[in-house]
């Protein structure tokens, strides 16, 4: 079912080809600028918080990959807030399909594919300079980590968007906020003071999106515990997301048409 809906989305996108090409160009351009910032910082100094440039690139690629994954597969999560405000959700409620599935597939964005591509290139570049001892176990880990960090991030945006159920009128920019915080996860966690770490790395579990998985792959010390907790974090986030949607729908009063 998911596949069918997304196919329809793709067809509707094919209408706007120039727009799509421009988006590809702009995304590539802004990623180059972002990487430029990292490059410039590191052209002046050897390492930040004990992490070298190539290691930071791995952090970056994890973040970018999960972002691209959201854009491509689950862009609908972004639209939840808007749909609640405009009462578009009504249409979904009367269809004989799970609301969650419909929300996830409300939109598709090819930009995400582009981002995932760039992320893969950045990862390859970083990894080739990092002397990671690759084994079958590590490759399995990598795949699992990528899935887990995508799940965590989708749930984050999902929960933030669903907050609209409780907010009367007005815009909900929590989801945008949740994405912006990702900026923090581009750098190793240890450079932040404990309070910020507590809020932005564990309460909003960004530590598990980039810091722990990459640290584990690099074989840094103290990462094992974090990695072990990751599946639990995923489960909790998914659970919360499901509950929030249920409760929210229970509370939902359409603004009427």
């Amino acid at each position: 079912m998911y596949g069918q809906i997304q196919m329809q989305n793709m067809k509707s996108l094919a209408e706007y080809r120039t727009d799509f090409l421009m988006m590809v160009f702009f995304t590539g351009f802004s990623q180059v600028c972002n990487l430029g910032v990292l490059g410039i910082i590191y052209s002046n100094i050897p390492e930040v918080g004990g992490w070298k440039l190539w290691e930071i690139l791995l952090l970056y690629s994890f973040l970018l990959f999960s972002e691209g994954c959201i854009n491509f597969f689950f862009q609908g999560t972004w639209k939840i807030a808007e749909m609640i405000n405009l009462a578009d959700l009504d249409r979904f409620l009367v269809r004989p399909l799970p609301v969650g599935l419909q929300l996830l597939t409300a939109r598709i964005d090819f930009d995400g594919l582009n981002k995932m591509g760039i992320a893969a290139a950045v990862f390859a570049l970083g990894a080739s300079h990092c002397n990671i001892r690759w084994s079958l176990w590590k490759i399995v880990c990598l795949a699992v980590f990528l899935v887990e960090c995508c799940v965590i991030r989708v749930c984050m945006i999902w929960i933030a968007s669903c907050a609209s159920f409780w907010m009367e009128g007005g815009k909900n920019s929590l989801n945008f906020f949740a994405i912006s915080i990702g900026e923090m996860a581009k750098y190793p966690l240890i450079i932040y003071p404990p309070v910020l770490q507590g809020i932005f790395a564990y309460l909003i579990p960004y530590a598990f999106v980039s810091y722990y998985p990459v640290g584990y792959l690099l074989g840094k010390s103290g990462m094992r515990a974090g990695v072990m907790v990751m599946p639990a974090v995923c489960a909790v986030m998914t659970g919360v997301a499901v509950i929030v949607l249920k409760r929210g729908l229970g509370r939902y009063e359409s603004s009427g048409n």
Binding site: D19, I45, G170
Partner: protein, 262 residues
């Protein structure tokens, strides 16, 4: 002038009404500033001086750059694009006020609101981190002049980008590109002195540095008085150049508008 004042008021009120847009943008910028603050802090722990900047200077730079970047943040490309697509732009063109003048004063009004809010926030942060020592009156005055000119440059650039929307419907992409470009080249993220040699020369030949780097350097005192005045002169020249480009481009772009019905 009275007409323009009315637009300025209108812009100010508009800014107050659509504050969620501004607050979201500011939060994103603020997170970035906070991240950079901690990145630099960890760097300066084991290296006293980076490219002539010490931790004392950097600490000020991060906050002042944030202030410069946040005022006048509200891009109007999206708005222009929407008006073009819907055909409302004809209403703007019919008014007995030049289109560009109207845009400018509206934005100035909005910028006033943004500047006020950010100043309070950043002012408190700045004072609690750096203390009031080292703030000198003549530098503050020059800073305000330079900041104002920086807004002029930013307006010129945004205006050119908004005219691009006459050719494409993808206003989101245009806005994003402009944002990334300005953030990177204006010094909002990194002080331009950190840029490596070749890139540095490119950056100095571009107008973007006038938006954040020049006012910032004047305020925190890394520019000598002579350099400050020269920086301000360069800003003024760029405003002139951008203005001419704006006029030329407008003539071309306004020719391609084709509107649906009346």
């Amino acid at each position: 002038m009275k007409k323009y004042m009315a637009y300025m008021r209108c812009g100010f009120l508009e800014g107050c009404a659509y504050r969620s847009n501004f607050i979201t943008g500011m939060l994103a910028n603020f997170i970035q500033a906070a991240v950079l603050y901690y990145v630099w802090r960890s760097i300066f722990r084991y290296q006293g001086v980076v490219n002539g900047y010490t931790w004392e200077i950097m600490r000020k730079y991060v906050f002042v750059a944030f202030l410069c970047n946040c005022s006048f943040s509200f891009g109007f490309e999206m708005n222009t694009a929407k008006r073009i697509i819907k055909g409302d732009i004809i209403l703007d063109l019919l008014k007995p006020v030049p289109y560009r003048g109207m845009l400018f004063f509206r934005m100035l009004g909005t910028a006033g609101m943004e500047f006020g809010v950010t100043l309070i926030l950043v002012g408190c942060l700045y004072l609690s981190v750096n203390g009031a020592a080292g703030i000198r009156l003549e530098r503050v005055l020059l800073f305000l002049v330079s900041l104002f000119l920086g807004m002029g440059i930013k307006f010129g650039i945004q205006y050119l980008f908004s005219l691009l929307c006459f050719y494409t419907d993808n206003s989101y992409g245009v806005t994003k590109a402009r944002e990334v470009l300005t953030n990177f080249f204006s010094g909002a993220i990194l002080p331009l002195v950190m840029f490596p040699g070749g890139l540095r020369r490119v950056v100095e030949a571009l107008p973007f540095q006038g938006i954040v780097f020049t006012p910032c350097s004047i305020f925190i005192g890394t520019f000598s008085m002579e350099e400050s005045l020269r920086g301000i002169a360069v800003q003024a020249v760029w405003i002139g150049i951008l203005w001419v480009f704006g006029v030329l481009f407008w003539k071309k772009a306004s020719g391609v508008i084709s509107l649906y019905g009346g």
